[in-house]
């Protein structure tokens, strides 16, 4: 099928949706993933399921105050207890070191980076120390006997508080993240920024202050766009902080053998996590073996693990025994990451038909403690791509606060940007008398849509391909949009509303390596450096390799989840890049394997490589002469050199080269780099539709219908795609219907920290028959045509619900998400939004 795959780029010209799997034997068809039997029988081992002889346990002590300095720790009484083995403090943690990135560039250690333990806790729940003992009960008793003296320091919870004249800073260096002005280079720095009283003049009216912004870009003539507009809206909106709440907390178990660290933990990216652990430990990557066959969810919070995972590693080295660090649900709340709240303001000009003539967007991101959350910038770019405003300006400020560390969460920034802009579009459609779908349609990106500001070369970046308009049209039809619009809204105390939203996010990267072995048994063994976090891309992408080799899936094996079993250079599984990046790598390695099989056959049986074909685990000529894969593997071993791994291709990453060396002699060992060209940046798109039914007497509402229609390139595996489309839509829906952090601003203490206070949607919060569909139009800029899909549905999930609510209840109900029964009742009563529009964490 390699030829079919290669002609994708030509077929795209017609851009017609096709049935899943059309033209393929494996791609686009459902199958049982190789990890399924272990999962379904309970044999799958997550980090906490590992046991080792003599294993000790450790427990953390978290800071009770939002900002403070440790003066003195007296652990003598605890250490004297039987069974207590060690107390670890920040003084035992290796300093942050500079490191080389994948491309060999030196990345300077950030002085504001998070460490595993700290002497200056930056948020309530920041880990201060760890205790190791024979069991957790002893750890807990020992913690009771540790005396910690701390000085409280000033703190700030709300970003806008910190930006007020004379407002508190989260640490002495300042309160906002700024990029060094050229010619200076390097990462973002913390510096002080205070706005003026005049900037805050409209705060009490619920309008976001827009003082000096460290980051900005623009394109087009904004003022001309506003002058020519038939309608200009100016709206402020705040999105919630939402915890990732992976069901598996970031537990880790470590032991050492022969100066090598063996770390069992859950992570999104198996290959990419080992160098991260090495960096935090000041080890070389070859000193770390990472075992992560199963991971209980990630959603961006475990892209390459988290620094906390080195605590059991350090204790294990110190105590010469395996150490398990179990993280409780409550601890996970503090150290488990969250999506940052963004307070946004958008002034948007619309033509009569709803076309956006100008969009002026301002974001204030609550970045939390430690490293910068870049959601604000991402919100600007996604909004620019998704709504194609004729002219746009984005300004943003990213504020450090004494709240738990944020990180990327599915569609970071994109979700918040869409949630802020979509309600404005819904309001505009009502004011202009334009149908909601029609207004989205007139603003919808298409083809190689441009976005954001021009690059250094003066050109605006563009997408690889976009067929969102088709997804929107087909979605509206499937959702029976017009029919719903024509129905009466009110029945007694119940009011129905329907909402539509566009959605998109990054859908892939390029330039990684594939690695496979055709074994002497005639099996095709794919080595996968992808994490197994539940998306199944760890398996799915190799179906593209099997397709190119034209072999039945039954003779393929996937080796995954343990870096000692060697892995090629693999992308981090985050940012929805894996399906795209690693199908390209799989395509590259399988294409190279076909060629090498032909060469081996020609050298065995004579003739030229091009005389041979590869099919059904055989390499053969038209006259019938040929060899099996098993024979080809044996011959490859005899030939040696590039055929059996004694020599690696020159262009693969050095990590892949050492993987090839480790596999040398095991059969036909093939590695290849993804060198396929790409014009544009890869994005996936979704059109989301929802209907709600609100009881205006109680404020309670239900989502009665939902549809996500995707433009995600070639469909690789329908079951897993459906899981992503609806699962990530629901992750977005959570932001609309109830999830948020609540932090007491006076004490800086978290109030909502467990599932029951901050609950992800349950099975009863969503319709029992949610729908999804996908166009299945291959992306023309990638060999298999497949793009990532984890993140694109998230924003649409949230915004379609918000839009359905405003369709039911009008524009005067909410200026923030989530919208709960209180919001609805209080606002309906008062005739205006009654909840604070500018502070996320209340």
């Amino acid at each position: 099928m390699a030829d079919a795959v290669q002609t994708n780029a030509k077929r795209i010209e017609s851009a017609e949706p096709r049935p899943f799997g059309s033209g393929y034997k494996l791609i686009g068809r459902d199958y049982t993933t190789p990890d399924m039997m272990a999962k379904v029988t309970g044999r799958s081992r997550y980090a906490e399921d590992f046991r080792a002889e003599g294993m000790l346990f450790c427990r953390l002590v978290l800071s009770p105050m939002p900002h403070g300095r440790i003066k003195h720790i007296d652990a003598s009484e605890a250490l004297a207890m039987p069974g207590v083995k060690a107390v670890l403090t920040a003084d035992d943690i290796p300093a942050q070191a500079d490191y080389l990135d994948d491309n060999g560039r030196t990345i300077k250690a950030s002085k504001w980076g998070e460490r595993a333990l700290t002497n200056e806790p930056m948020y309530q729940g920041d880990p201060i120390l760890a205790v190791a003992a024979v069991n957790e009960l002893t750890c807990a008793e020992a913690i009771e006997r540790i005396r910690i003296e701390m000085d409280p320091l000033p703190f700030v919870i709300d970003p806008l508080d910190s930006l007020r004249p004379g407002g508190p800073n989260p640490l002495k260096d300042g309160n906002v993240w700024v990029r060094p002005k050229p010619p200076a280079t390097g990462g973002p720095q913390v510096s002080e920024l205070k706005w003026t009283d005049a900037d805050f003049a409209e705060y009490e009216q619920g309008r976001l202050p827009m003082g000096e912004a460290p980051d900005t870009w623009s394109y087009g003539d904004l003022e001309a766009g506003f002058r020519g507009a038939a309608l200009v809206l100016d709206e402020s909106f705040v999105t919630p902080d939402v915890s990732h709440q992976c069901l598996e907390s970031r537990t880790a178990m470590a032991h050492w053998q022969n100066s090598k660290l063996y770390l069992h933990t859950g992570t999104q990216s198996t290959y990419q996590t080992a160098p991260a652990i090495a960096r935090w430990m000041n080890l070389t990557p070859d000193q770390v073996v990472l075992v992560s066959e199963y991971t209980g969810g990630g959603f961006g919070s475990k892209v390459t693990g988290t620094v906390i995972m080195i605590i059991p590693a350090i204790l294990s080295r110190k105590l010469n025994a395996p150490v398990m660090m179990r993280i409780s649900r409550e601890e996970e709340h503090f150290i488990g990451r969250a999506r940052p709240s963004i307070a946004g303001r958008a002034r948007i000009g619309f033509a009569k038909d709803g076309r956006i003539t100008a969009l002026d967007f301002y974001t204030v991101t609550n970045s939390g403690a430690y490293d910068e959350a870049s959601d604000g910038g991402s919100a600007g770019r996604i909004v620019s791509l998704l709504y194609q405003p004729t002219a746009m300006r984005w300004r943003g400020v990213t504020v450090m606060t004494n709240t738990p560390t944020r990180s990327a969460q599915s569609a970071p920034g994109g979700m918040q940007g869409i949630a802020i802009i979509e309600p404005v579009l819904a309001k505009a459609a009502r004011k202009l008398g334009v149908d909601q779908v029609a207004l989205r349609r007139v603003n919808c990106p298409e083809g190689k849509a441009e976005y954001a500001a021009p690059n250094r070369d003066g050109k605006r970046p563009h997408a690889t391909s976009c067929f969102l308009k088709m997804a929107l049209d087909r979605g509206a039809e499937q959702f029976r949009w017009q029919e719903r619009m024509a129905r009466p809204k009110r029945m007694g105390t119940k009011v129905r509303g329907a909402g539509v939203s566009l959605s998109c996010y990054v859908g892939g990267t390029i330039g990684f390596d594939g690695l496979l072995v055709i074994t002497r048994e005639g099996r095709v063994q794919f080595h996968s450096g992808i994490g197994n976090l539940g998306t199944e891309s760890v398996m799915d992408v190799h179906r593209a390799g099997a397709e190119v080799l034209d072999v039945p899936w039954e003779i393929c094996d996937v080796v995954w989840g343990d870096t000692s079993r060697v892995m090629p250079y693999t992308c981090a599984s985050g940012g929805s890049q894996t399906t795209h990046a690693m199908t390209r790598a799989a395509f590259a390695v399988a294409t190279t394997a076909r060629q090498q099989l032909k060469e081996v056959a020609a050298r065995s049986l004579g003739g030229k490589p091009e005389d041979y074909e590869v099919r059904n685990a055989r390499v053969f000529r038209k006259d019938g002469a040929g060899i099996s894969f098993a024979e080809a593997a044996q011959k490859a071993i005899e030939l040696g050199g590039i055929y059996d791994g004694h020599q690696a291709p020159a262009d693969v990453h050095k990590v892949t080269k050492s993987a090839v060396a480790a596999l040398a002699g095991q059969g036909l060992v093939v590695a290849a780099r993804d060198n396929a060209p790409r014009d544009g940046d890869t994005y996936s798109f979704v059109a989301s539709f929802a209907e709600v039914e609100v009881d205006v007497e109680t404020g309670k509402y239900f989502i009665t219908d939902f549809l996500a229609y995707g433009d995600v390139g070639t469909v690789l595996h329908p079951h897993s795609l459906g899981g992503q489309m609806l699962g990530r839509s629901t992750l977005g829906i959570a932001h609309a219907i109830g999830q948020k952090w609540v932090i007491d601003p006076e004490y800086g203490a978290t109030v909502a920290k467990r599932f029951y206070q901050n609950k992800p949607p349950t099975i009863l919060d969503v319709p029992v028959d949610m729908q999804w569909a996908a166009l299945n139009i291959p992306d023309p800029e990638t060999p298999v045509g497949a793009r990532g899909v984890g993140e694109p549905p998230v924003g649409g999930g949230c915004a379609s619900i918000l839009n359905a609510l405003s369709d039911a209840l009008g524009d005067e109900i909410f200026q923030r998400a989530p919208v709960n029964a209180d919001t609805i009742l209080a606002s309906l009563d008062a005739g205006r939004p009654m909840q604070h529009p500018l502070m996320g964490s209340i």
Partner: protein, 208 residues
């Protein structure tokens, strides 16, 4: 942080900030952070005054002698004493359902059941669901066929809940089944595919 007051620490010098005082400072927010949630747990080894004793449990059809503390939860016994790690701890506080097992065919959160209370009862975990010959239970087979679940950390709890529910309600509607398994949380939010799998499981069970 520990939840109990330590007399010696509280009595320490005025201006010294002790853990006790940290807690007082933040108690308004309900902010007691840390190890207290693990105090009842003692994996392996004897603990002073914990009152361990040997009992016999019927787990997955086998009689298992096990030494348990009075305050030990069934989830702990299963995972740390009997090696049955298919039962997961997602919250340890009856909020997520990941630890669901069957006790006399009724689903229970094993994080919130004391091991001592299940003597004389039949405990079934995910490991005990398939037949002795390895034949999957119809609900397990349905999950395989529908590629149900994503990360699968919640999977054993969901499957046990569904099996318990379907034993009493063999032919539920999709909505009834959703209610039946609504005590379980899936953070991957794969509810649609879970319901597809469980409805198929119901069908397989009826046919079996």
């Amino acid at each position: 942080m520990p939840e109990m007051e330590d007399a010696k620490i509280s009595a320490s010098k005025e201006h010294r900030i002790t853990r006790r005082r940290f807690i007082l400072g933040v108690i308004a927010g309900g902010a007691v952070v840390g190890a207290a949630s693990y105090k009842i747990l003692s994996p392996g080894g004897r603990t002073r005054g914990a009152g361990e004793r040997w009992i016999t449990l019927n787990v997955n059809g086998r009689m298992r002698r096990v030494e348990v503390m009075r305050q030990e939860t069934l989830a702990w016994t299963l995972r740390y004493k009997l090696g049955l790690t298919g039962t997961k701890l997602g919250c340890d506080r009856a909020e997520c359902g990941a630890c669901t097992v069957l006790i006399d065919d009724v689903p229970h959160y094993s994080c919130s059941v004391l091991t001592n209370t299940v003597r004389g009862k039949r405990v079934t975990t995910i490991e005990g669901l398939a037949g002795a010959d390895g034949t999957l239970h119809p609900v397990q087979q349905a999950v395989v066929d529908e590629q149900g679940f994503q990360c699968a950390f919640c999977m054993s709890g969901f499957i046990m809940s569904a099996v318990g529910f379907l034993k009493k309600h063999p032919a539920p509607t999709r909505t009834e089944l959703a209610h039946g398994i609504s005590g379980n949380l899936c953070r991957c939010q794969d509810y649609n595919k879970i319901l597809d799998a469980m409805m198929r499981g119901a069908e397989y069970m009826r046919r079996a």
